[in-house]
Symmetry: C2
Subunit: 218 residues, 2 copies
């Protein structure tokens, strides 16, 4: 399954900190820093960043606030770490998928499948990241925003390439890229739903829709 | 502009409470209940529902907490009112757009244009509603969820009709409907962006993409 692949350093770190939905429970149970991070993610998910105190995070992790500060200076630092781990793992996975051998259509299909499955599979951290991103301090936000631009560029470069080679007919490359990414990212808001609860079915469906969005019709 | 049209009772109420982005400033300035509602929206937007106290809302509105309780029993009541006003105005606008005379393609284009422009134009309340919806109490959530189902049904019925008459070729009607709505709704997360900052251009672009998603290709 695409969303679970370990494709490189960033995915490996994401996995090892225990934030990945399929990380073994021991990665958080046996490591205080990881346990705090998972507690922060769950607290931000349930109560929002602003509604969460560092005390509440420590309590969820079964630790004292004093013990928490050994690992993290603030909840802001935990939010940054969660955002960076999530974004970097997603970027790395997308980059690998987009690097498949073949023309623009094959590469776009691979990228959209991966990006959609990733967001559906990782919708808990995905929702935290997308909803709470606005609470990052300016410098921290800038760091995450760079990864977001890199993600955008992976897809935009494929769309540009497809237009250049005549494989795609697209009237507005940046706006179409934004639409493709937006469609997949928004799955964190509602996935799983009554009508779609399998992430690979969703990914395949979105590949078919994006195919149509960029296709040359004669 | 679609997002500013007053099409019926719900849009009128949304406009008169001063939450509409183009409502005259007097609607909130001269009415304490409206001023509190606008203050609640801004506070939820900036600090999240859980990060906002009733005291902070009263302060933003230039009132005492005691004076606030004359108008609203709790911040939960304010969140519900904001969610209902936003959803009902959006639904009413969509319904009017979907009722245009013509075949399924014409009706879908009208609906997608309206729904996209509405979300882009009303992205502030849209973001509050989409991000803070999870903090509604069970009964309140159920009330808003019904409007969400009605919204979904407006679009799904058009897609179903288009498939029935052969105007559309769609492999999975509920999943395609979800994708269409998801694409437009997600604009509240990022609109305006560097590459797309005009809501009607965005709406027209999404109409063209959705056209392709459902088109019969020969």
């Amino acid at each position: 399954m695409t969303g679970t692949q370990i494709v490189g350093e960033a995915s490996r770190e994401y996995w090892l900190t225990g934030l990945h939905p399929d990380s073994p429970p021991t990665t958080t149970r046996d490591n205080a820093a990881n346990r705090l991070l998972a507690a922060a993610r769950d607290a931000f998910f349930e109560d929002g960043y602003q509604g969460t105190t560092t005390r509440a995070i420590a309590k969820r992790a079964g630790m004292s606030p004093a013990a928490m500060y050994i690992h993290y200076a603030s909840k802001q630092e935990m939010l940054l770490k969660i955002c960076l781990l999530g974004h970097r793992a997603c970027y790395e996975s997308l980059l690998a998928a987009a690097s498949v051998q073949g023309g623009a259509m094959k590469r776009l299909r691979s990228a959209v499948f991966d990006f959609t499955a990733w967001h559906a599979h990782n919708h808990v951290i995905g929702r935290v990241v997308q909803y709470e991103l606005r609470f990052l301090d300016e410098d921290n936000f800038a760091e995450v925003a760079q990864v977001r631009r890199d993600i955008h560029e992976v897809v935009e470069s494929i769309v540009r390439e497809g237009v250049r080679t005549g494989a795609f007919a697209v009237s507005n490359v940046p706006a179409t890229t934004l639409a493709i990414l937006s469609l997949s990212i928004d799955s964190v808001r509602w996935f799983p739903s009554h009508s779609v609860s399998n992430e690979e079915e969703l990914a395949a469906h979105y590949v078919a829709l994006v195919d149509r969005m960029v296709a040359v019709t004669t």
